[in-house]
Symmetry: C2
Subunit: 330 residues, 2 copies
Amino acid sequence: MTDRPTPALLLDRAALDHNLAAMAAVHPGRRLRPHVKAHKCTALAAAQQAVGHTTFTCATPHEVVGLAAAGVGDELLLANETVDLDRLRAMAALDVPVLVAVDSPETVRAAADAGITACLVDVNVGLPRCGVAPDRAGAIADLARRAGLDVRGVMGYEGHLMMVTDRDDRRARVAAAMELLRAAHADVGGDIVSAGGTGTYDLHGDTGVTEVQAGSYVAMDTHYAQHDFPFRQALFVEGTVISVSSDWAVADVGLKALGMDHGNPTIEGATVWFCSDEHVTFAPGDPVAVGDRVRVVPAHIDPTMALHEAVWVVEDDVVVDRWPIDLRGW
Amino acid sequence: MTDRPTPALLLDRAALDHNLAAMAAVHPGRRLRPHVKAHKCTALAAAQQAVGHTTFTCATPHEVVGLAAAGVGDELLLANETVDLDRLRAMAALDVPVLVAVDSPETVRAAADAGITACLVDVNVGLPRCGVAPDRAGAIADLARRAGLDVRGVMGYEGHLMMVTDRDDRRARVAAAMELLRAAHADVGGDIVSAGGTGTYDLHGDTGVTEVQAGSYVAMDTHYAQHDFPFRQALFVEGTVISVSSDWAVADVGLKALGMDHGNPTIEGATVWFCSDEHVTFAPGDPVAVGDRVRVVPAHIDPTMALHEAVWVVEDDVVVDRWPIDLRGW
């Protein structure tokens, strides 16, 4: 097929364009604040910007600084807490407006001390992670304003609901979580109510959120494929078959090339048995030979992207571009 | 404690030195062919060389070429199959002697075509992965010799036995697997019988192997800690507490900083609930505050190392060195 070295991360341009259009149809422009942690790739963020999304969500200061350096985005949100003054200062020094999430006196103080000028109050809406209890959000907002921060609103990530299987159940639980967020917003003020992810992107029509933070939709994975979404699988890890035995074959796509926290990857028409550091052992449907190429579909795209230096953009299996995964690391 | 940015990969120098000495006492010099896939760090390989091990095992051509460029090792084994002619040629061009594993006519031909001069026949001893069936090893050796390769012996990785819980059971099953390897060796010839890993390093006293390929012993992880081994936990991912709630706290060590294929990491004195991309949520034993540092112990060190650009070498929590993880990627 090709002689690009393997394992090779491939992004199908047609599927990507389909996904970009499908999401922009539901959440156009600033209604979507794409989460770049899903891909950590400024070129892919630029593709999201090209279809109208100009604000971005980041999980690390490194992603914020990298997006700014690439000139992508007109407002960047660090949807995460940090008390790292050097990293906060680096974000404060950017030309592009930066908002950071705060959920405690310590994170408010660090942001203010570092010269950050604007924030969202991060509210716990049910996922046991960051975020202040809803009834304490107003107090954090007061604290932030007294520290000189412009409190632009609230965010609350309902991550615990992304994989609720039944759509009606998911919708009801998202609505309940967003009720908490709206109540907190009433105490906090500001023009932004930010929430959501790919798993709940279609359930925010009447939840009162002003923007959705979805990221994984651009490339998809087998985990989100369990939902009946209009997004197509756009990301693959291409491997080479390096060994064929009686009942199984092995390709050079191992757990160092795949995010494994959601379990094994899949191979169309084959049964994946297990992954080792640099191998996937699988039972092929049709016979394969040493040297054949196989496409492995990751179970979780976010950490998969972060394992590769670059992604090959392909059209009908022909490479048309190579995009560095340039926001990796911290 | 310190202001090094987090998540930070830490290697405890005293524990490392202990582990190096404990392994070298059992398998001195060339009796151990350390597997660099465990750490992907030429500085750490140099530390292994400093205690007497001068031959190395690699999982990728990139590891072979990188070790050679660093001047570490006097004989390098690619314990894996490849038909990538460019990468085979790059290894063939090195000054240091290189052996590659072969298990099929295709891998023999690729090695010979690329100018590789020496190989081991990779034998399946029970793990369904690479390796020729034991009774076909002699035929592959004949093929390799006819292709002009110096057949130096056999290798057979009993990876399926690394985590057999009961030591006596593990010993018996390793002995049976090595019987297969010895039978293959009788057909293949050569001076090398290479096998083993950290999980079985102490069971090769009378199996007929000439060298053991262990790697993870240098740093350990919670997976191998289930065995009663003399090795100490030397590797940690240090995080900063970024959020504290009623029953849980969150540190900035997520699944992008941890190999997750063996499950969740652990935190001493705490209960880990789950990991997100950039977070670990845990129930602390003693109260923690935002800004505190925590040490997270990975479940699997090999893929954890591969996620970080560098490791901080510490003595009593003081950084004494910074070693690049320079063999990452492919």
